[in-house]
């Protein structure tokens, strides 16, 4: 069982009203024709990296992305388009969730392992990532477009197993600001809070 420390986070459920302006500022340009779901994902991932103090990801780091409904809005648009003919090429690309991984990789000039786990809970992603990730850790995100949008991300680094006791957490609790360490196994997710170097 691997233990991870949380080195950065973006909790935005929903994101602030000016999130699109903030995204444009981080990108250096206003994103065009990539779809709201991908924009939300980019916003959260870049915010999280900033919070972690990462300008770049190591090639050995990984990106794990989850969503309950993913690109369903873009998919509905394309289904409407194909009733009358072929869809617009960029509209079709927006239906592919892996485009967000490509966009993020391009933005941070990174080449590495990235994976989309549709319908997965955050602890599912962490369990799969734990088995594959190396010393450079991972960027883990959950992005959805419903209810004003959600883009929650954690920058996780593997660390030495903590001696202090972990308590079972729900997937939602993974993103709570007080949680500083996480680990996961077949029995579920465990977290530990750390305040001023002490276990709470």
């Amino acid at each position: 069982m691997k233990t991870f420390s949380i080195g950065g986070r973006c909790i935005a459920a929903p994101p602030p009203l000016d999130w699109r302006e903030q995204l444009a500022q981080m990108l250096g340009f206003k994103p065009r024709r990539i779809g709201t779901w991908a924009e939300l994902g980019l916003y959260g991932a870049l915010r999280c990296m900033t919070d972690a103090g990462d300008r770049r990801l190591s090639p050995d780091a990984q990106i794990w992305l989850g969503s309950q409904r993913g690109t369903y809005v873009a998919t509905d648009i394309v289904l409407a388009q194909i009733r009358d003919g072929l869809p617009m090429p960029l509209a079709f690309l927006q239906t592919q969730p892996s485009q967000l991984l490509a966009l993020l990789a391009a933005q941070i000039a990174w080449k590495g392992h990235a994976c989309f786990v549709p319908g997965g809970q955050p602890h599912d992603l962490l369990r799969l990532a734990s088995a594959q990730v190396g010393a450079s850790g991972l960027l883990l995100g959950m992005v959805d477009e419903m209810d004003g949008g959600t883009t929650n991300w954690l920058r996780l680094y593997p660390c030495a197993p903590e001696k202090e006791e972990f308590v079972h957490n729900s997937s939602e609790e993974m993103f709570l600001s007080g949680v500083s360490y996480l680990r996961v196994d077949v029995t579920g997710l465990q977290g530990r809070r750390a305040i001023q170097g002490k276990t709470e």
Binding site: D76, W110, V117, G120
Partner: protein, 353 residues
């Protein structure tokens, strides 16, 4: 790390409804394509590889095909293991032309019901590399001892959206798939449902050693040669193999004018002396998210039974690579590669046990 074996496989594709039927069809020279008509200026008639299994209901057909390949792979032995579902189009074919007002979990719950699965369930979607990434995730869980057995299911069934999307991007051939062909002019898509059963407790002919997936965002709809090189280097390192240990590579080679060129460039740079290559795109089509496990199922069966696909098209000499006309005499280690949308490049390595 525990050794992970390919303990069972199941395949339904245009060649046949199981692996044996597919081998027979392949030995006899393959099957003809069906066709799909798409409207509009960029539309027209496109060849398409259809699984020869008719049923009125999309969901009913999907259910029966999923159950067939799962049974063929021996899934009934491991229902408490890990299930990996990989697809790029989910059940979009069941919902066209209506809205897709549902979530991913409903789709996976449906498959869990069909398979009476009781263990953990994960879905993986990385476009065309979905099932290879699912295979790598399953391999990692098993090798780490977190699970003893896993079923990796790849599923890609008839739907208008994928065909129309590829047509809109002008990626499809109006004629045939010509892997590394001198006259290649695009992809031919196809259906496949396939399952691979991985196990750490049941040994078999093939041991999965590892693999690598490299996302390169510089080409969102295609591949880059540098990412192909990095993918092979990382996959070899993860598998503990040197370049000269590889006896055969199942390549992507879908017949795309640009991607085939990029793939060939990456192969030459990664290997120098490129090992024998094989492609199944001309016999079963590009089966998108299912292609990784579907082509692996067919490849391992071919290697065991001495069957080999006929390469009918003239190879493009400029590419500097060739497809093997005959099966190599000895295949101790092979790699299987899929390149796809989202700048995703994935390859896995297997060893004859």
């Amino acid at each position: 790390m525990k050794p992970v074996y390919l303990a069972g496989r199941g395949l339904a594709c245009a060649l046949g409804l199981d692996t044996y039927a597919s081998l027979i069809a392949l030995r006899q020279g393959g099957v003809a394509t069906s066709s799909r008509a798409l409207p509009g200026e960029l539309g027209g008639s496109f060849p398409y590889y259809v699984i020869p299994y008719a049923q009125d209901s999309w969901n009913g057909r999907a259910c029966n095909l999923v159950r067939r390949v799962a049974i063929e792979a021996g899934a009934e032995k491991i229902r408490s293991g890990a299930l990996f579902i990989s697809t790029s189009s989910f059940d979009i074919g069941a919902n066209e032309p209506g809205a897709t007002n549902r979530n991913y979990r409903e789709f996976s719950d449906e498959l869990v019901d069909w398979l009476e699965w009781t263990g953990s369930v994960y879905m993986v979607n990385t476009a065309c590399t979905s099932s290879l990434n699912a295979l790598m995730a399953a391999h990692a869980l098993l090798a780490a001892g977190d699970e003893e057995e896993a079923l990796v299911l790849g599923m890609e069934l008839d739907n208008q959206m994928t065909l129309a999307g590829f047509a809109a991007l002008q990626l499809l051939s109006h004629n045939s798939s010509k892997p590394f062909g001198a006259h290649r002019d695009g992809l031919v898509l196809g259906e496949a449902v396939s399952a691979m059963r991985l196990s750490t407790v049941e040994s078999s002919h093939w041991k999965m050693l590892g693999g690598a997936n490299v996302v390169d965002g510089s080409q969102p709809t295609g591949s880059s040669a540098s990412a192909v090189v990095t993918m092979y280097q990382r996959a070899l390192a993860a598998s503990g193999l040197a370049v000269d240990a590889i006896d055969l590579i199942k390549v992507q080679a879908a017949g795309s004018p640009s991607n085939d060129r990029v793939e060939a460039e990456g192969l030459r740079e990664a290997f120098g002396n490129v090992p024998p290559l094989v492609s199944f795109k001309a016999v079963m089509g590009h089966t998108m998210g299912a292609s990784g496990v579907a082509e692996l199922a067919l490849l391992t069966a071919c290697l065991e039974q001495g069957v080999w696909p006929i390469c009918a098209n003239e190879i493009d000499e400029i590419l500097g690579v060739d497809l093997a006309v005959y099966q190599p005499e000895t295949v101790h280690h092979f790699m299987a590669t899929i390149l796809g949308f989202g700048g995703s490049h994935a390859s896995v390595a297997f060893e004859r046990a």
